[in-house]
């Protein structure tokens, strides 16, 4: 399932996938995989992404559907 909330949060801060990847210390492909729903990140990486984007875990990774 695609993570559109992550993509939207990143776009709102005008960050590219590479920018976000550099800030959390992963490869651009990993961010791409998370956004496409191909990869389930560990809680450690989720927290790192949330901190960079200024969002909570619920806001980015909680599936309300």
């Amino acid at each position: 399932m695609k993570n559109l909330k992550l993509k939207a949060a990143r776009a709102a801060l005008d960050m590219s996938q590479q920018d976000l990847a550099d800030k959390v210390g992963v490869s651009r492909q990993t961010i791409n995989s998370i956004e496409k729903g191909d990869y389930n990140p560990t809680i450690k990486l989720c927290i790192a992404i949330c901190k960079v984007l200024g969002k909570s875990l619920d806001e980015l990774f909680w599936d309300e559907g």
């Binding site: 590219s16 210390g25 992963v26 490869s27 492909q29 990993t30 995989s33 990140p41 560990t42 990486l45």
Partner: protein
């Protein structure tokens, strides 16, 4: 802090266990090949024999071998006219203990003697041609070919040097693999793990296939060197290609273009090396064939890297949308 120490201990344990396994295998092979049986000694010579009425005239021939250890196996083949056999006497040292093996060598029938009790002394073999009386008076010639296998063990330093170099290489490789903190992210490590498992299975299947095929063929065309190198190269190539397909071959901070150029250069160098060895030694030489296979594998990897780079460039344009 506790987590970091725990991870370091786990990596240290992984490194040590891997190192113990490699050291056990390499040292066992290195030491067993460093002390090996002496090479077979081959001697051949001809003896002129004059057959006269009722007797034969010849110059007695004896061959002396340097100390051969406890035991030796002597194989004697002779050629000459039918009706001319040879009495063979094998003595240890100067013959003070008498002959320990004697027998008759018939023309065209290899004679094998197991000589025991040499106790590190020289071995002398005396040849006495004997006529069965069927030969007409004339001059003949009897040819002898001797092969002597010794039980003596000799030491050679080359396998030990190779063992030490291999162990140093193993330390370097295992440290590189285990101590690469932050080079790959969590997704890449997981993908590399899967790729490693798959390439390991590929190498096991290759080993089993080659082992079974070699059992069924009387003269297997590949040498041990070639077989092991080919299996290792195929496994490494499989790992690299599978990792790269999952974007896990190149680290977070590494540059793809640099890796691509390096791979093409290595493939070219390997092909050039294979051609140079083939010009000097011929393609029947296993090192030439192995270098060629390395080149083919590197070209496959380079092609995969190139295709992936092109796909990546296109994907990078679309992904931000």
């Amino acid at each position: 802090m506790v987590e970091v120490i725990d991870m370091k201990n786990k990596k240290l344990a992984t490194f040590l266990i891997s190192m113990v396994m490699v050291t056990a295998v390499v040292l066992t092979i290195g030491l067993t090949t460093a002390i090996h049986p002496a090479e077979d000694q081959n001697v051949s010579f001809n003896v002129p024999v004059d057959v006269e009425e009722g007797t034969i005239v010849y110059e007695e021939q004896s061959v002396r071998f340097e100390p051969l250890g406890e035991d030796a196996v002597v194989i004697i083949d002779s050629n000459g006219p039918d009706g001319l056999s040879t009495e063979v006497h094998i003595y240890p040292g100067n013959g003070e203990d008498g002959d320990i093996v004697s027998g008759t060598v018939q023309v065209g029938e290899p004679f094998t003697a197991e000589v025991e009790g040499l106790d590190g002394r020289d071995m002398n073999i005396v040849f006495e041609p004997v006529s069965d009386g069927s030969l007409s008076p004339a001059s003949y010639e009897v040819g002898y070919e001797l092969t002597v296998s010794s039980s003596e063990k000799v030491f050679s330093g080359a396998p030990l040097v190779v063992t030490i170099v291999l162990l140093a290489f193993a330390v370097f490789m295992l440290l590189t693999v285990n101590m690469n903190d932050g080079k790959f992210d969590e997704r890449q490590l997981a993908a590399r793990g899967e790729a490693a498992m798959n390439s390991f299975m590929v190498s096991v299947l290759c080993c089993v296939a080659i082992g079974l095929i070699s059992k069924g063929v009387s003269s297997f065309p590949l040498s041990v060197y070639e077989t092991t190198m080919v299996v290792a190269i195929v496994a490494v190539t499989t790992f690299a290609i599978l990792s790269d397909i999952n974007d896990a071959y190149i680290g977070i901070k590494e540059r793809r273009r640099k890796m691509l150029i390096l791979t093409w250069v290595m493939a070219f160098a390997s092909f050039t090396g294979a051609c140079m060895i083939a010009v000097g030694m011929g393609f029947s030489y296993d090192m030439a064939r192995t270098a060629l296979i390395v080149g083919v594998c590197l070209v496959l990897l380079a092609i995969e890297l190139t295709v992936k780079t092109i796909i990546e460039k296109r994907g990078a344009k679309d992904e931000e949308s």
